[in-house]
């Protein structure tokens, strides 16, 4: 009996610990919601060659960074791993050519790149000391083969090989210089090209079709600071430092990704020291870890916009008056307070661009005006009507947002029925069917950096075209924005896009969420680059004692 009592007490203690009672955060870095100046052509900068100086304890070389993902990658081939897991887990294994950031270009495999005056040719110079993880040199021969391989439809990975539906042409000047010729101007292609990851030709060329090939799961030879040591499918991916890395070896000795599908189990593993990093998605957790001296909380920009879309196929929301009324009835700050707890996790969004978008403009958003909303509802004759709101139940806080919207619209005489779908079901309903059987839908999309592919999303064939009404003028503006390389012109065009989308009341911007993580305090260099997926450059990371 005594043992049973002891066990029960231990379990109760454990439950109390898990529930975690904390006081409000005091050391959480503020969210970056400032309005950046309009972008000019990013000035080239040299690659980050060394880690930032220590800010905590004394720097020690070595150590293991352990992170977790909810599901595993399905191969070690980066061209097939374009989901969140692949982008994060294989990031240390494959380096891009360069990353176009707002105010600089960070060069990795490339030493420099030049965009021709007419914007139709990008010439890239590779570094001369590049090596694959098996010691073979990386040359333009590899780059050309990668383009050729991607252009083969059997390989099901054509990303970066086309502009406006037409293929690009790639030619090599020498072992380290190549030029990509575009069929038409695409300002965003520069960033697309820079972000491409490449495979070693000598490893893969003997496999005629890569899609589904066994070599995708066995090779994993890359170009990044860490190489694959062991992949225990469904369980963990173990990476070890690549000592011949062209920018010098990383400080960390190894990086491990563990697969933990359950969020509660993930938190226990983090508290138990089995993980170095954990994402915080609720205010409770944010406060708890902000006040724990063993952890440091970092707020990074996620580069997304969460919004509520109006379905143009529904008779109710096809009326602009109704859409306007709903936009005027909502108060984003209250929605955020109710759904997230505070704006630390998700600052309010004003436009359909997030602040980290190169062309974000501080255009005025919607302001709540209940009287005008009620008047518009009366004019449209929809008082007491029931609106169906769909959302992705797999996304954190979406349900809470839906409930807050339901409450706020009730105040102006509109009933809202909410319906959650898991991811695939939601996408089908939101993007791919046009039955008009819902009126409001909560979704999000990445708007970080340059507007790569966004013109397609808003075009007549794009993802949003089935349900979310957009105008021909907006679609044309998107095309114009990508078809010019003049930064001032692009800034003006994208400003107009933000204003026009606001004025047709088709997308109500809700939040621009932050990517907030709690990190084992010994790990430093975490926020050297404010980028998601986290840790663009693993050379910045190091342990302290």
């Amino acid at each position: 009996m005594k043992k049973i009592t002891s066990m029960a007490l231990a379990l109760l203690t454990a439950g109390a610990l898990l529930s975690g009672c904390g006081t409000p955060a005091s050391n959480t870095p503020p969210a970056d919601t400032t309005s950046p100046a309009p972008s000019s052509t990013p000035a080239p900068s040299t690659a980050p060659e060394a880690s930032t100086p220590p800010t905590g304890g004394e720097r020690v070389d070595g150590g293991t960074l352990i992170m977790c993902e909810p599901s595993d990658i399905s191969s070690l081939n980066i061209i097939y791993e374009t989901g969140d897991e692949g982008m994060t887990m294989l990031k240390p294994v494959y380096d891009p050519l360069y990353i176009v950031a707002k105010d600089e270009v960070r060069y990795y495999l490339a030493e420099s790149r030049t965009v021709s005056d007419d914007g139709l040719a990008i010439t890239v110079k590779l570094r001369e000391n590049l090596k694959w993880h098996d010691g073979e040199p990386i040359t333009t021969d590899d780059i050309l083969w990668n383009f050729e391989m991607r252009m083969n439809p059997d390989n099901k990975s054509s990303g970066g090989t086309k502009v406006n539906g037409e293929p690009v042409t790639v030619t090599a000047q020498d072992d380290y210089t190549f030029t990509v010729q575009l069929p038409s101007v695409s300002a965003a292609y520069d960033a697309t090209l820079g972000g491409l990851k490449f495979l070693p030709k000598h490893v893969y060329e003997s496999t005629p079709v890569l899609s589904g090939a066994d070599i995708n799961s066995t090779s994993g030879v890359g170009s990044g600071p860490f190489k694959v040591k062991q992949w225990n499918k469904g369980e963990s991916l173990v990476l070890e430092r690549f000592d011949d890395y062209y920018r010098g070896p990383a400080s960390l000795e190894s990086v491990v990704f563990k697969i933990i599908p359950n969020a509660s189990a993930e938190e226990i593993a983090f508290q138990n020291g089995e993980l170095s990093v954990m994402r915080l998605t609720t205010q409770d957790k944010l406060e708890k870890y902000s006040n724990d001296p063993n952890y440091q909380v970092y707020t990074l920009t996620e580069g997304r916009i969460n919004y509520m879309g109006f379905n143009s196929n529904s008779p109710l929301t096809s009326d602009p008056k109704v859409r306007q009324a709903i936009c005027l009835a909502l108060n984003v700050d209250e929605i955020i307070a109710g759904a997230y707890g505070s704006s630390d996790l998700a600052p309010a969004a004003k436009t359909v661009f997030c602040p980290s978008n190169f062309y974000y403009t501080d255009v005025p958003g919607y302001s709540q005006d209940l009287e005008q909303a009620k008047q518009l509802i009366a004019e449209a004759g929809v008082e007491g009507e029931t609106f169906r709101l769909v959302y992705n139940s797999s996304r954190e806080n979406m349900e809470n947002c839906a409930l807050m919207i339901q409450q706020q619209l009730k105040a102006v005489g509109l009933n809202v029925e909410i319906q959650g779908y898991e991811t695939q079901g939601f996408f089908e309903v939101f993007f791919y069917t046009d039955a008009g059987d819902w009126e409001l839908g909560l979704n999000g999309y990445s708007t970080n950096g340059d507007n790569q592919g966004d013109e397609y999303m808003f075009s007549s064939e794009g993802f949003l075209s089935k349900n979310i009404c957009t105008t021909d003028e907006i679609a044309q503006l998107w095309n114009q924005g990508d078809a010019t390389n003049d930064p001032a012109q692009r800034t003006e065009i994208y400003k107009q896009i933000q204003e026009q989308i606001r004025d047709v009341y088709t997308m109500f911007p809700l939040t621009s969420p932050n990517f907030v993580i709690a990190v084992d305090k010994r790990l430093q260099g975490v926020d050297a680059i404010d980028m998601v997926p986290i840790f663009e450059d693993y050379l910045n990371l190091y342990m302290t004692n």
């Binding site: 989901g83 990303g159 539906g165 225990n232 369980e235 599908p261 359950n262 226990i268």
Partner: protein, 315 residues
């Protein structure tokens, strides 16, 4: 006997066919399209159409079913539409992990449930029976994810005795490490089974003790221990065969929840991922394997019954 087995095996064919039809319909009618996983903003409609054809997702649902069935009849469960890997190959990769976990938990369940069930039956309505019944009800009611998390908090976070997830610690491959990882998920999976099995065995023990052969044995002067171990125990264990047969499929299908909580890379996690991604061939492969093994498990149970109890064979 041979005729009986043949008859049962023949029944297997229409059953599997029906299961495949219904599963195929349910899976395809669920909202979602695996093609969504491949879509990129710069893809043209022509490219999407080509991709749909290459993934075998073109044509009507009837065409797709016939195509799938044709492959299955040739021994090919197809390839995953998400990873392009062979469905059977992928299942074979994770199958040993699941068999290990489910086998251990089933063994543990029987080892605990048999003595508990017998003890409860022998002490009907007395204190030992009431205590065992109390814990059986708790075992049946307790949600496995909640119990799993409690064990992780207790043994990993507080006592720091056991690892919280996975099969091996990083860099470890030894048997001891494997056993340490196996303990908690096996216990969680066993708790529900032990509770159910105990109730079955208790009930059967009580009914067997009221049988006339027990009275005869008593009349012949056989001792209590002799009656229990010599006669009652054998008959009490007959339902175990049924239970084992019913659980046979779970040996390979695993547990979605427990594998997820403990990060155990088995069939359950594979199935969950397939459903989330609308990976039709993988879902169908998983469903058909479960169905096949459930039927085979029941058939084996029936055959074992015949072997153990000649009266059934005579019928």
């Amino acid at each position: 006997m041979g005729k009986y087995i043949l008859k049962r095996l023949l029944i297997l064919i229409p059953v599997l066919l029906l299961v495949s039809v219904f599963s195929f319909l349910i899976v395809h009618f669920a909202p979602g399209d695996p093609l969504n996983m491949y879509m990129r903003p710069d893809m043209t409609q022509e490219e999407l159409d080509t991709l749909r054809v290459s993934l075998g997702l073109d044509g009507t649902i009837v065409d797709q079913y016939i195509g799938w069935l044709g492959n299955v009849l040739h021994g090919n469960l197809g390839n995953s539409v998400i990873t392009s890997q062979s469905v059977s190959g992928r299942m074979m990769e994770v199958l040993p992990n699941t068999v290990l976990l489910m086998g251990t938990s089933m063994l543990l369940s029987f080892l605990v449930a048999i003595p508990l069930g017998l003890a409860a039956g022998l002490n009907k309505n007395r204190l030992p029976d009431q205590i065992i019944s109390f814990f059986s009800y708790i075992g049946i009611s307790i949600p496995s994810f909640w119990f799993g998390l409690l064990l992780i908090i207790l043994f990993s976070l507080i006592l720091k005795l056991l690892p919280s997830s996975g099969i091996h610690s990083i860099g470890e491959t030894g048997l001891v490490d494997l056993i340490r990882h196996l303990i908690m998920p096996s216990i969680v999976l066993s708790v529900g089974n032990v509770a159910v099995f105990t109730r079955y065995i208790r009930s059967n023990t009580i009914s067997q003790l009221e049988e006339e052969y027990v009275l005869t044995a008593k009349a012949k002067g056989v001792g209590k221990r002799g009656i229990l171990y010599g006669h009652v125990l054998k008959n009490c264990l007959l339902p175990i065969i049924t239970l084992a047969g019913m659980r046979f499929a779970s040996l390979v299908t695993g547990s979605f929840i427990v594998e997820s909580v403990f990060g155990w890379p088995g069939m359950g996690m594979l199935g969950m991922s397939a459903i989330n991604n609308r990976d039709y061939p993988m879902i169908m492969g998983f469903t058909m394997l479960s169905c096949l093994l459930l039927i085979i498990g029941n058939l084996l149970a029936d055959l074992l019954y015949c072997v153990c109890d000649p009266r059934i064979k005579a019928q």
